[in-house]
Symmetry: C2
Subunit: 285 residues, 2 copies
């Protein structure tokens, strides 16, 4: 059996009781560690499970899936995923490959940012499509998600923006020279995301959003140090949200007054929030 | 402390290890039992927790929240929610009331249908807003969600349809006579949802979808008897999905070929699926 097990959002105790029992039944335990990160290190997981944990990077999952699945017709193998197995990134390749090899697959779900973002006070019902913002480089400033934001905002819907994670990236020089030397991990902050968003709007001028658009910065959702701050993009640009992981929500114009009431509790500046909620979102306080 | 704890999708072992520890620290444990249902009964939860569980119906949560929160400044109180606390239904009233009473609130997340629906093979990224389909009655045939579906489908996005749950409902006669006699619980099936959807389309003729629209019926997601079947709405109308809970996904025209490949594995009729995916969704097989 291949168990694909969601670990949830924060630490080793966010696994479900069912998931933990499954891990304990497994001969090999892999941890997917390139699309998200857990807030605890591998050693803590190993101590908690009483098992060795093999870190599976993108290379391993994409090109050595048969090694991961080896013998799973007879023994149990666990593939651990931060969040939910079907959260932002699905591991359909591995599941499809397991099906081809006639290995039974059992998925054990958990929270992911895709549902836990409800903690910001907006109703999940009122979100449109989710987008991902990637780091700008000197030469590559991708903005294809801008259309998606515009689509959501034209309908008055909220937009969850997932922010880039760079784990095990090589510098261009090291890549060119074939050196397997990796850069330290980088996690996009809400500040960077806001700056990139405003730069894109300035270039495109299609009014998908403005510096006055209300947004909610969400850091370390589901952990003990969770931080939620709402305000205009311009206001959030100056807020220090601390360590990773960060996400950003752009508030849609259909914001209900009950949503507004909840979100206002997190405002950088409640008076400014009220003013803009009334002026641009037609929310009466 | 008020702990608001997600129970996940299936049985007593879907609670997280962290959630279980929190429950065990609580003086009183409430189970929210009107917006969703767990697949196990209260007795099983009580045995698993070693605690009495108080079932909180809508009446209690909406009008006796202070009773639920009583003394939570000093002792721990658990409020258990099927799925995630911020899933389809949020319990913001209770959280706002706790804040007013200066009771610390800790939310322990879990899977909800809003993220576990990824199991159907479609990417969560590509979903638009979520809608709820409620039971038609002789005199009330609500269809306000039709506009929402049209908005999603005009953008090519998938639509998650949550299906009605009627728990502790009174008949009109019993309500009129003030008799607290409740009807047996009812859960909308995928078949009923499809029939209602097609009736609405027939009346409105705005082409938000047709009997040929591809959809995915998802029953008991996250449980051992999970059932996923894809096909046209007309095909799904004739599929028996067994017991509750059921959900339905309308496939948007942006379906990626990798999504199509995964979803096709669940097709009632693979040849029909391929034909329509190519004709109406421009997916080359």
């Amino acid at each position: 059996m291949l168990y694909v097990i969601g670990l949830g959002l924060s630490d080793e105790t966010d696994i479900s009781v069912k998931g933990l029992e499954a891990v304990k039944s497994c001969t090999r335990v892999y941890l997917e560690a390139y699309t998200s990160i857990l807030m605890v290190d591998k050693g803590k997981l190993e101590a908690f499970y009483g098992k060795q944990v093999i870190v599976a990077d993108r290379e391993m999952v994409e090109s050595e899936s048969d090694k991961i699945l080896e013998g799973a017709q007879e023994v149990n193998v666990a593939f651990l995923v931060v969040g939910d197995p079907y959260g932002a990134t699905t591991h359909t390749d591995l599941v499809i490959r397991a099906r081809e090899l006639e290995i039974p697959v059992s998925v054990i779900h958990n929270a992911s940012i895709m549902n836990a973002i409800g903690a910001c006070g907006l109703q999940l019902y009122n979100f449109g499509q989710t987008i991902s913002i990637v780091f700008f480089t000197e030469t590559w400033r991708p903005d294809s998600f801008y259309e998606r934001i515009k689509e959501n905002r034209n309908l008055g819907l909220h937009t969850l923006c997932l922010l880039d994670i760079k784990v095990k990236e090589q510098s261009i020089e090291n890549m060119a020279r074939g050196r397997k030397i990796y850069e330290p991990p980088r996690y996009m902050t809400i500040q960077t995301a806001v700056e990139q968003l405003l730069e894109i709007e300035e270039n495109r001028q299609e009014n998908a959003y403005t510096p006055d658009t209300l947004a909610i910065g969400c850091a370390r959702i589901g952990t003990a140090t969770q931080q939620i701050v709402s305000g205009t993009l311009e206001e959030l640009r100056h807020v220090d949200f601390g360590g990773p992981l960060h996400s950003l929500v752009l508030v849609g114009s259909r914001m209900h007054f009950l949503e507004a009431e909840f979100v206002k509790a997190y405002a950088v500046d409640k008076a400014s929030f009220e003013k803009i909620a009334e002026r641009d979102y037609h929310v009466k306080q």
